[in-house]
């Protein structure tokens, strides 16, 4: 398809950005809000869910090495049912991608640009993403290789610099939450980690499938390590009680930084993470939507779909910029059912079982 090939390293980098991108911002508020200082256990369990998703997707991908997820679903389930599921996945990509952008716009309004219309952020990002994806998969994957380092360094700084305010004993006592509550919360946190499901759309672009399983497990696990570091930093600075009450806790964490009265007011670090990660994420979701549409309808090329899909993307993103109470409600009660419990884990697992049972593989050309 003239898309260029990506390497294992690029894939792992891309998914690190995708996974940590939005998780970094709203997730701690919900996880710490429900499980207190034991949030890190929920993140550990969430890593397990993420790894499971990665294993299923790569196992599916190895059976159909030249097709994307939406491409091989009809092969597994048969045409009518498979096409419907592919279409559902297309809509899911569009919807979740729009949600990511809506979150970004909400975040900008919440934090520093209170009076800028949300549409400004949405249109800017969709326009840049359209431009990037139009140049092909390889382009934004390579851009990500540069941005990732900035994101990682910024996260490390934000998490470690408020060291003066940290009281590590606020992590104690450990294990106050019941297992049931931890697992329930891990489903919410895991739905973010489950976005590793997108790998199903990128596998055919890989130069080689060797070591994909190992790399994806490492990526998911490392994201978990970063989120645990974020959680520990938040709880030790604010205390679990307050974190649950804060809007965008990580941004508040950055506001606390005042190191030696020199390194002061470094919230921009959080913005760097947020802007870069959102950009890469929007690119990935736009790419997935376009590929999925092309697969479902049966087009060879996806690029001419980008323009209409971008417009749709804009509209869907704007439609999702709801008030914050509704938004948290969505993350708490709707998102796990939408993510891990259906599109991210349960349906792919079902597909894998059916593929194994019916012995479906890609026919060698």
């Amino acid at each position: 398809m003239g898309d260029g090939k990506i390497s294992q390293r690029q894939l792992a980098f891309l998914f690190f950005t995708i996974l940590i991108g939005t998780m970094f911002f709203h997730n701690p508020q919900i996880v710490v809000g429900t499980t207190g200082q034991d949030g890190w256990i929920a993140y550990l369990i969430a890593s397990f869910w993420g790894i499971l998703v990665a294993l299923v997707m790569v196992a599916l991908g190895q059976r159909f090495p030249d097709q994307t997820l939406t491409g091989y679903i009809p092969n597994i389930l048969g045409k009518p049912l498979g096409k419907i599921l592919s279409l559902l996945y297309t809509i899911w990509f569009l919807f979740i991608g729009g949600g990511v952008l809506a979150q970004f716009a909400n975040f900008m309004n919440t934090t520093i640009m209170a009076s800028t219309p949300k549409m400004v952020f949405i249109i800017t990002f969709v326009a840049i993403a359209y431009y990037a994806v139009n140049l092909g998969l390889e382009t934004f994957v390579r851009v990500n290789e540069l941005l990732l380092w900035v994101i990682v360094i910024a996260i490390i700084l934000v998490v470690t610099l408020p060291y003066e305010l940290m009281d590590l004993r606020r992590m104690l006592p450990v294990g106050q939450m019941s297992i049931g509550k931890l697992v329930a919360t891990s489903l919410i946190a895991g739905s973010w980690r489950g976005e590793v499901m997108l790998v199903g759309m990128f596998l055919p672009a890989l130069v080689t499938l060797k070591n994909t399983t190992r790399n994806m497990i490492w990526t998911v696990f490392l994201v978990g390590v970063f989120m645990i570091a974020v959680e520990i930093s938040l709880v030790t600075v604010f205390g679990a009680q307050i974190v649950g009450d804060l809007e965008v806790p990580v941004f508040n964490l950055a506001r606390m930084i005042s190191t030696a009265r020199v390194l002061d007011r470094v919230e921009a670090l959080v913005l760097i993470i947020w802007v870069f990660a959102t950009f890469i994420k929007i690119c990935a979701f736009l790419y997935c939507t376009a590929r999925a549409t092309a697969d479902t309808v049966g087009f060879q090329d996806y690029r001419f779909l980008l323009l209409p899909l971008s417009l749709l993307f804009t509209a869907i993103a704007y439609n999702q910029t709801v008030d914050p109470a509704k938004f948290v409600d969505f993350l708490l009660f709707t998102w796990p059912g939408y993510g891990l419990l259906s599109f991210e884990l349960v349906i792919p697992l079902f597909l894998l079982i059916v593929a194994l049972w019916r012995g479906k593989r890609e026919k060698k050309v």
């Binding site: 640009m113 009076s115 006592p173 604010f238 205390g239 804060l246």
Partner: protein, 404 residues
């Protein structure tokens, strides 16, 4: 296509001259401190006083001392909420009030006694104010603190910020709002904030005396104690504050004055704290009442020997000093404990320790903590060490005596 793109890029430069919400710094009024009092009007409950800095006066060598230009100005507004009071002020100020550099939350005593809870929200919700600002309670009205024109510092707000930035200095205990709210919302449900009052400046130069209004200064002394409802229920004096510092492991720069081990001399020896750690161990008694063992380890330096006799160079003398330091620390800790018990406000962090060390038992104790706390038993074991004695071994006077 490329030309078209280039054209649009160049055109777009016209629209990207700045940030959407940008305001020139000269249009901002930089608020450095806020004070909250009760309004006189029953309708408008909140009286907010802001202190706005005049940045030009803080540049050394420039503007300083320029007549007619003050280093700060204050304004007070009233309203049903803090925000409404802010807008009340902005009607009289030609610049936009900017709270990004606001680092003080001074609470008037009346507000503190009535309950501080409703006043906290704005400080966490504001996009500009950071919740790591310092919280303190004014003896009297908070407004008076910010309106004080000090001889020793250009602005009273900046003076307090400077003082607190130095860290825990003897019994001056800076408390950040996040720490305060953490203590209030944690298992302890009680918090402290330093108290500040306006006092008469005693060391005044002739030049200062010309300006009668500059005879005042601020003094930070003691701690206000808040209960679980956020009401100020009492104060801790300096001894009790010191005890609290030992228990919570907050002591940084600290000084003890102990009586000289030679009783007949009736002299005093000053010990300066070089380092300290304290640990609280909790044991639950058979009756379900926790017992606290507080272990304080300290290292001191002899700061001054106010007397004229010998033996400072003897090892028994140093040992005896250390024992006296232990006694003083234990006395201070017990003073803090009995005050906290009397006020039934667990500002010592005991509930947190029970919660951490005995999470199961805590579930039982939790609901009855206000009843249990006044009954708890506290044992103190203090281990002081004196490792240095400054730059001289003996009072010079004493060395003469030895020669004789």
């Amino acid at each position: 296509m490329k030309r078209l793109l280039a054209f649009f890029l160049i055109i777009s430069c016209i629209f990207t001259t700045g940030c959407w919400d940008q305001i020139e710094i000269t249009d901002l009024a930089l608020v450095i401190g806020t004070a909250l009092d009760k309004g006189n009007d029953p309708e408008n409950k909140v009286a907010l006083t802001i202190q706005v800095a005049n940045p030009r006066m803080f540049i050394p060598g420039e503007g300083g001392g320029g007549d007619g230009e003050e280093a700060f100005w204050t304004a007070t507004g009233t309203g049903k909420t803090i925000r409404e009071a802010t807008f009340g002020i902005s009607h009289r100020v030609p610049r936009r009030l900017f709270f990004g550099h606001n680092r003080l939350m001074i609470v008037g005593e009346e507000v503190a006694r009535e309950g501080i809870m409703p006043y906290l929200d704005r400080y966490f919700r504001s996009r500009e104010t950071r919740p790591n600002l310092y919280i303190l309670v004014a003896r009297g009205r908070g407004q008076d603190i910010l309106e004080t024109n000090m001889a020793t510092f250009r602005s009273s707000g900046m003076a307090l910020i400077n003082m607190f930035d130095l860290g825990n200095n003897h019994t001056v205990v800076p408390v950040r709002l996040i720490q305060f709210v953490y203590d209030l919302t944690s298992a302890c449900q009680a918090a402290v904030a330093p108290m500040v009052q306006v006092v008469v400046q005693s060391s005044v130069s002739i030049e200062e005396a010309k300006h009668a209004s500059r005879l005042q200064t601020l003094s930070v002394k003691g701690l206000a104690v808040f209960n679980s409802e956020g009401q100020m229920v009492g104060e801790m004096n300096e001894t009790e504050t010191a005890g609290l510092l030992w228990i919570r492991n907050w002591a940084e720069k600290h000084q003890l004055t102990v009586p000289c081990p030679i009783e007949s001399a009736k002299a005093s020896v000053d010990l300066d704290l070089m380092g300290s750690t304290s640990k609280t161990r909790v044991e639950i008694g058979e009756d379900g009442i926790p017992r606290f063992d507080i272990e304080v380890r300290t290292v001191f330096d002899v700061g001054e020997h106010f007397g004229n006799h010998m033996d400072m160079d003897q090892s028994w003398y140093i040992d005896s000093l250390a024992k006296r330091a232990n006694t003083t620390i234990a006395r201070e800790i017990q003073a803090a404990v009995s005050k906290a018990k009397a006020l039934n406000a667990d500002v010592l962090g005991f509930a947190e320790e029970v919660h951490r060390q005995h999470p199961r038992e805590w579930e039982v104790i939790r609901n009855n903590w206000p009843d249990i706390f006044p009954l708890v038993e506290v044992n103190v074991s203090s281990m002081s060490e004196i490792t240095t004695r400054g730059m001289s071994a003996e009072n010079p006077d004493d060395s003469l005596k030895v020669v004789k």
